[in-house]
Point group: C2
Chain length 718, copies 2
Amino acid sequence: MWIVNETNFTPSSQHHKETIFTIGNGYLSTRGALEEGFPGDRRATFVHGVFDDVPVSVTELANAPDWLPLHVFLNGERFSLATGQLHSFERDLDLRSGLLTRRVRWTSPQGCTATLVFERFASLEDEHLLCLRCQVLPEFDGSVEFRASLNVNMDNEGIVHWTHIDQRFHEVSGAEPVVHLSSRTRNSGIHLAMAMRLVGAAPLQPEFWDVPGVPTLCVSLPASRGNAVEITKFVAVTTARDTTQPVEMALERVTLPANWDQALHAQHQAWQQIWDRMEVTIEGDDEAQLAVRFSMFQLQVAAPRHDNRVNIGAKTLSGFGYHGHAFWDTEIFMLPLFTCTSPRIARNLLEYRYLTLDAARAKAKEAGFRGAWFAWESADSGAEVTPTWVPDFRDRKKLARVWTGDLAIHISADIAYAVRQYWLVTGDDDWMIACGAELIFETARFFASRAGWDESRNAYGYKDVLGPDEYHDHVDNNAYTNLLARWNLTTAGQVAEWMQSSHPHKASVLFAKLGLEEDEFRHWQHVAANIFLHVRSNGLIEQFDHFFERTDVNLEDYEPRSRSMHVIFGIQAANEYQVLKQPDVLMAQYLLHDAFSAASIQANYDYYTPRTDHTYGSSLGPSIQAIIACMVNKPEEAYEHFMRAARADLRDERSNAGDGIHGASAGGVWQAVVFGFGGLRVSENGWTTQPRLPAHWKRLTFRFFHRGRQQVVTFPGK
Amino acid sequence: MWIVNETNFTPSSQHHKETIFTIGNGYLSTRGALEEGFPGDRRATFVHGVFDDVPVSVTELANAPDWLPLHVFLNGERFSLATGQLHSFERDLDLRSGLLTRRVRWTSPQGCTATLVFERFASLEDEHLLCLRCQVLPEFDGSVEFRASLNVNMDNEGIVHWTHIDQRFHEVSGAEPVVHLSSRTRNSGIHLAMAMRLVGAAPLQPEFWDVPGVPTLCVSLPASRGNAVEITKFVAVTTARDTTQPVEMALERVTLPANWDQALHAQHQAWQQIWDRMEVTIEGDDEAQLAVRFSMFQLQVAAPRHDNRVNIGAKTLSGFGYHGHAFWDTEIFMLPLFTCTSPRIARNLLEYRYLTLDAARAKAKEAGFRGAWFAWESADSGAEVTPTWVPDFRDRKKLARVWTGDLAIHISADIAYAVRQYWLVTGDDDWMIACGAELIFETARFFASRAGWDESRNAYGYKDVLGPDEYHDHVDNNAYTNLLARWNLTTAGQVAEWMQSSHPHKASVLFAKLGLEEDEFRHWQHVAANIFLHVRSNGLIEQFDHFFERTDVNLEDYEPRSRSMHVIFGIQAANEYQVLKQPDVLMAQYLLHDAFSAASIQANYDYYTPRTDHTYGSSLGPSIQAIIACMVNKPEEAYEHFMRAARADLRDERSNAGDGIHGASAGGVWQAVVFGFGGLRVSENGWTTQPRLPAHWKRLTFRFFHRGRQQVVTFPGK
C-alpha cells in the first residue's frame, strides 16, 4: 500500500488527478499535469516564497515557469492523449520515493504504435533539481523525436506573474549542452532561473530552438520495432531568495546528476530516511493505510526543509486554492506530524511565525490592541492578506464582506498552542528561549488587551469574534476562543516562571526587550482566571452567548443532500441555527483535554455531534470529530469520520480537490490515527497511549520522536 | 504635413509612442511596439468585437495573439535596441497610407553593423491582411537570419484571455509554405486564427520551429557588405465572428498578396479614397494641420467599415484604457466626422446601438423605467459593463463605487442626438424609418418615464444624475441632461409626425411594434414642455440645482499645477466647488445652438469658462470649449483650447497617451476645425458656415457630404 494508482485517463477528472499526483520536495511542488499537455489542464509548479501581487487576494504564489514540457513525436506525429488511440493508461505515484510514473500504449492517427513511459520526481537530495525521463518502446521503424522546453508563459487562472528576462544555450565541454531561462515576477520582482539539460543513452546533439520564453531542445533518434529509446530531462530551479546569482546556480546544479539512475538512487535513500522517521502501518485496512501514507507524503513535499521564511498554504503547494496563504491549518492540523516526526521542519514553520511577529504586532496595534495578532491569512511578510471585500457573485452592484481577518482572533492562540506542543514533544529549551517564549508572551499580551470586562457577568470575555465554526460570525464569547485565550494567558505565566527559574539571565533580557513587568504577568493571570464560559451542570459548554437559544434542526431531515447547510440555509440564515460547520467546543476539548472530565467531553460530544455538518461542512472537521469519538470510546463512529478525511482528496469527495490538497485534512488524518486511534498524549510527565482501534484493524504501528528519541508504538487489533 | 515622425528612441516614452504609431484598418489595430520587442513594451493588437471576461470591468477587448514578432540575427547576434550600439533611429507614420516605417543603424555587441528598415501596414483592401517587411543592409559579410513568429502568449496587463488550440505548417505547391495558429478566448470562446507566410526576394525554404503557441519560421540568408537582404511577412487574421472556418479563411487570405509592392500599391489606393472624402487642409499652421490629419487617421483605423455589431472604444483600438468599452464619446465626439465624411461607417456605429436596443430596454426595465436606457459603458452585448466597484488605489483592501452606470442617463439622449444629426446630414430617410426612429422613440420613452414631477416647482426634472461634468455626481436637474432630454422628447414627436405624414404605413407598423399610441406622444410633449431649467434673466443657466450656492474658486490661485482639480480637492470635496471637469451647460448650448440666443451663450461662456479645469480636467473638454469660443467670436481663445486637444496624444500632454488614443478628443479636433473655426451648421434648410479663423491661419479648406453630395469649403485667412 505505497502506490496511488490510476488505470484509465478521464479528462473530466484531470484536475483532481493533477492534485493527487503532485510531487515535490519542500522547495517546490508540481501538479500531476501531463508532460505533453492536455486541453484544459491546470499545470502548475509553486516555489515556496515566490509570491506576487494579485487583485483582491493581495498576493499569491506565482505559478512558476513550466519545467515539464516534453513532446514526443512518432515518425513526426505528436503524441497526445487528445488524438490517436489510447490502448492502455496507467499512472502510479510511489509514496516511498515520490516517483510519478505514467505508462501509456498509444497509436498515432497515422498508425504508429508505441508504449511510452514517463517518470518524474522532485529531488530530495538537491531541492533545486527536477528529474524527468521518457522511455519509448516503438512498434514501428522510423524515428522518435523528443522536444523538451521550459516555458515562461504560465498564469494563475488567468493572472500573469512573469516577465521574461532572457535565455541562452550554453555549450559545456565534455558534457551535454545546457539551456537556461531567466524570468522575474512582475510586481514583487523575484528573479527565478531555470536550467535544462538532456541526457540520452548515447551522447546527444540536441538542436536548440531559441524561441523567446520557450527555449526548446530537440533530439531525433532512429527508432526500430521493439528497441526502446529514452531521454532524461534534468531541470534546476533557483530564485533570488536562494542566491544573488540564480542563473549561475541553476546552470551549476543541473549539471551535477550523472544520470537518471544515480539521481533516482539518491532519491530513494533520501525518502527512506523520512519514512524511517514517520512510518505508520495499519494492517487489515488497505484504504486507511494508503490514505495515511498519502497524507504524510503530501505534507512532507509541501514542508519547507531548509527555509524558515515560509509556511504551508491551506492547499499546500498543490493548487491555486487560497493562493498559497497560510492559516491556522498549519499550526493546529499539519504541525503535529512534523513536531512528532520531523521537528526541524516544525521549527522552520514556527520560526516563520517568529519572523513575522512584527507584522502581527502591527496588526494588533492598528486595531488598538497590544501584543501579536497574527494574520488570519499570511503570505510573505506576515501582513494580513485576507480579502476584506469581494464582489458578490449574485449581484455585481454589491460586495460581500469577508470577516475572518477581523474576527478569527483565535489564530494567535493556535500558534502559541503549537509552540507549546513543539516544546513539550521535543524538549527544545534553547529554541523555546530564543523564539518560542516571545511568541507565547506576545500572543498572551494580545489576548489580555483584547479581552473586555463584562460588568453584568463580572467576567472577561471576547465580543464580536468568529470561532472555528464559521457558520456563526459576529458572536460573543465563542467557547473555543475563550478557552484557548485562557490557555494562552495561563501558559505564558508558566513559561515566564520556568524561564525565570531555569534561565534567569535570558529571562530578564527577554522581559526587558518586550517591556514585560510583574504587573503585566499578574494582569494576564487575572484575565485568565476570570474569562467567561457558560457551562451547564452536566459539563455541556455553550458554543457562544445565546447559542442554545438559536433554532434547533434535525440534520437528518435534510438527507440525502450534496450541499453544505450553509448553502441550504443561505449565508446569513445559517447564523440563526444550531448547526455547526465543524467542531468548535469539541475542538477545544481535544486540544485542552486535560482541562475536562470525561463526563463533560461525553456531554458535549452527545450534544454537538448530531448538530455538525460532517459531510459538507468544513474539511477540517472530520479528522477532529474522529479523535473526539475515540476519546469517548466510539472507534467505529470515529472510523466513519476518519474515512471522510481520508477520502477528501483521494476520492475527491467534496469535488474541490482540483484546487489542491486539503492540507489540514491531511494533517488531521495523521492525528486521527496517532492521537485518535492510538490515543497518544504527550505531557510534561512523558507520553501515554490509549488504543481505540476499529474492529477490523489487525494492527496499528506508529512512530514519533519524544525529546530526541524515536518511539515505536504498536497495537494489535481485537 | 502627412508624417508623424520620431528621430530618436527613448525607452521611457515607448508606451506613448506605441499609441501614436498605432496602425489599423477598421477591423483591427496594432500598437507601434517594436517587431523584435523591447523590455516593458505594451505590445497589443485589438480585433473589433473580440471581447472576453475580466474581473471588475466585466469584459474587455482581448489583446490578440501577437503577429509582429520578427527577430533579426546578424552573424548569429540578435538585433535588439536593448543591446549593442544604436547609431541612428527614425520612425515615420505616413498618414496618407497608414505605412509605419522604422529605420535603424545599429552595431551588434560583437561588432556587426547594419541598417535595418522595418515597414508595416494593416491592409485596407483586405481587412484580414497584415503586412510587414524588413530590409537589412549589412556592413559585414556573413549571414542575416530572420525568425518570424506568431505568439499566442499575450495578456491584457496581466490578464490572460487566450487558450492555444493548435498550429500547423502547410506546404503549398508552387508557393511559400504557410503556418497557422489557432486559439480561443478563455471565457467568451471566440475562435481566432492567424496564418503567416514569408516572401523573399528569391524563393525561401524556411525552417519551421513547431513550439506550441509560438510557431516560428526561420530563414537564414547569406549577407555581404553593401548588399541588402529583405523579407516580407504576411499575416492573415480571422475569427469566428467572420466565418465558421477561421483557419481555412486565414490560410486563404494570407496567400492572396503577390508581394509587398503589390499589397502596398493597393493600400495607397484605398487610403487615397478615404482622404478624398475627408481631407482638411490648414495652411499656415503645420502643427494644427498634422494634428487634424492624425486625428482623422486614428479615428478611421478604429472605425468598423464592414461590421455593425461593434462600436469604437473610448481609447479606440489603440490601448488598454477603458477595456474597449464604448461611451457617449462615440456619438457626441467621434461620430460627426463619419456622419459628414463616411456615412456608411456612421451607420454601422448607429446600428450597433440599434442592435443593442434590447439590452438598453432591459437596463431601463430593471431600474423600473420604460424605453431604452443605454449602457454608459457598452461592449459586445450592449449590457451595462461599467464597473460598479473598483479597487481603491489608496487602500488596496477597499473598493470605490463607480456611479456613471447608474447616474449618467444623458447617454440615451446623446445617441438620439447622433441619430438625428446623421439624418439631417445624410437625408437617409430609409435608415431613419428602419432604425433611427425606433432609437429616438425608445430613448424619448425612457426620458418620459425617468422624469419626476416636482410639486414645488410645478415642473418635471431628473434627480440624482451625473452630467458631462463628472466633478459633480448625485446632482438634481443637471442642465445638460434636462436640455437633451427635452430635445429628445420634442424630436421624437417631430419624427413621429414626419413618419405619419410621409410614410403612414411604416409609421403605423412601427408604432404598433412599440405599442406607441397618441396618448404617449402627447405625454412626451407634456413632459418636454414642462422640464425644469433655472435660467437667470441674462440667459445664464445654472448647471444643476444649487450649483450657484457651492463654493466659488479662482482657478488661477492654483496655478501652476500639474494635476486635476479633482485630485487637488479630493474626489468627495470636488463636489462642493464651482469647478467643472468639462463644459456642461456650454456643451448643451453647442449641441442645441438653435435654442439659445447669442447673449445667453455669451453669458454662459463668461461664467463657466473661468470655472472649468481645461488643462487637467476631462480630455473631452478642450475641443468643445474651442467651438464655443468660436461661437462667441474669440478665435484666438478657441485656438488655445483647440491646441490642447490637438496635443493630447501627439505630445502626451496628459501623460496618459500610453493607455491609447483619446478618441473623443480626436473627434473633437475635427469638430473644432469644421464646426468651430469653419462654423459649419447643418439644418433642415441646408448648411451654412461662419468662418472664425485664428489670425495666423492662411487658409482653411474642408470637405463633407451633404445629402450624398460632396461639398468643399475653403476660407482664406485674414
